[in-house]
Symmetry: C2
């Protein structure tokens, strides 16, 4: 087959949003997936949520979760400390874990998944500046754009969500579906600089980001330690 199969039902994608989620973390994959699915944005209520530079409107609450769906998607972001320490959100994610075929995240969204015990014993990716925290969560950190381990799909930082979204779409609806999405999205990247990783950006710029991340990483480590009895044991 060299064209996509349009006969399958739309993918049901449950996306967690929260104050301070990074818009690009979920909008990259949402765009890739929406050509073959219905993407909805879940939070505790339907009020607008401020995310970095824009307000995002949830269109479903935790109570609206379908009995069964294809994909749970959790984005990262500056505001992730709150959901990482919030039982209501983590309980919701555990319920998602029971009802979803694929449990996924982009960027530091994997740390939220991990706090819900959903990455214990799984290989996973996250933003480069937070990679070591995955081990605290009893996941296996992998430095990659996209990591697949059984039904877990996790993406690296922010823009990795596009590579992630296309990879996940290929898994769920075949490579021709993903190629069509890539073509419509004209995803033929040509970064103006070679600075997308700490190794290529060099120690000064990497040091700036590491310094900025230090306090929040320490706070995450405390949250993880406080929850360590509830993370479960690797397989």
């Amino acid at each position: 087959m060299t064209t996509p199969d349009f006969s399958q039902p739309p993918l049901k994608v449950v996306t967690l949003v929260y104050p301070g989620a990074t818009p690009l973390d979920f909008i990259g994959p949402a765009m890739a997936l929406h050509f073959f699915g219905e993407v909805r944005f879940y939070w505790k209520n339907l009020e607008p949520i401020f995310c970095d530079f824009m307000e995002v409107l949830p269109n479903a609450t935790f109570a609206d979760l379908p009995e069964h769906f294809d994909v749970l998607l959790v984005p990262g972001g500056k505001g992730q400390l709150a959901p990482m320490g919030d039982d209501e959100t983590l309980d919701f994610l555990q319920e998602c874990g029971r009802r979803a075929d694929y449990i996924t995240s982009v960027c530091t969204g994997s740390l939220i998944l991990g706090m819900a015990g959903l990455l214990t014993g799984y290989r996973a990716a996250t933003h480069w500046a937070a990679l070591e925290l995955l081990a605290d969560l009893r996941a296996i950190p992998v430095k990659a754009r996209v990591v697949e381990d059984r039904n877990r799909f996790t993406g690296g930082g922010v823009t990795a969500g596009i590579d992630f979204g296309l990879s996940l779409l290929a898994k769920l609806r075949g490579p021709e579906a993903a190629k069509l999405a890539q073509l419509i999205m004209e995803y033929n990247p040509a970064p103006p600089f070679n600075a997308g990783s700490p190794e290529t950006a060099g120690p000064e710029l990497a040091g700036l980001v590491t310094a900025q991340s230090k306090a929040v990483n320490e706070e995450m480590r405390r949250l993880i330690a406080a929850r360590k009895d509830r993370l479960g044991q690797p397989g």
Copy 2:
């Protein structure tokens, strides 16, 4: 200098939004620019706007335009026929053109700019499936991710907005600023397929997209023809 200059005032970025604008068209560049600026979303009113798979909330109206600002950004999208044929929006963009240092677009946003007469005589990019329409608008079509011509910056389709946003940030705040944004966004792309252009995706997938675009391209051509006396003359 090997670190960014943080001493300059925040860039003022005026982003047009409208029903059916493609979220990724403006959220890619908005993310790159927001590290060094304030990005606002302008429409006729502040009601939520449905865009492909999510609701976007404008936070400024046409009446709120500052006397002077750094960047006008116009995204493309499925809903672009309406603004292309709407005098109120085109008048607003012309006023933006008088007040902005840089006049910019991503994807088929360039066709909206062109309808406001803002690309007449300028080299410009757009989504690959709409490239020929730029000539109807008396612009000079260029097949590229990012095209700079005097104070016009235009990006190619959808994801080109990330390359565009980083390039524009480099122009306005220096290459170290853009490299820092690229590093935080972990923009180190690794597309899972080589299908981001019609040449690499092949004739079958490209044909699907071309067939989908045909009706809207014809409608755009009619709108452009009807406005040809108001596009001005090159140079």
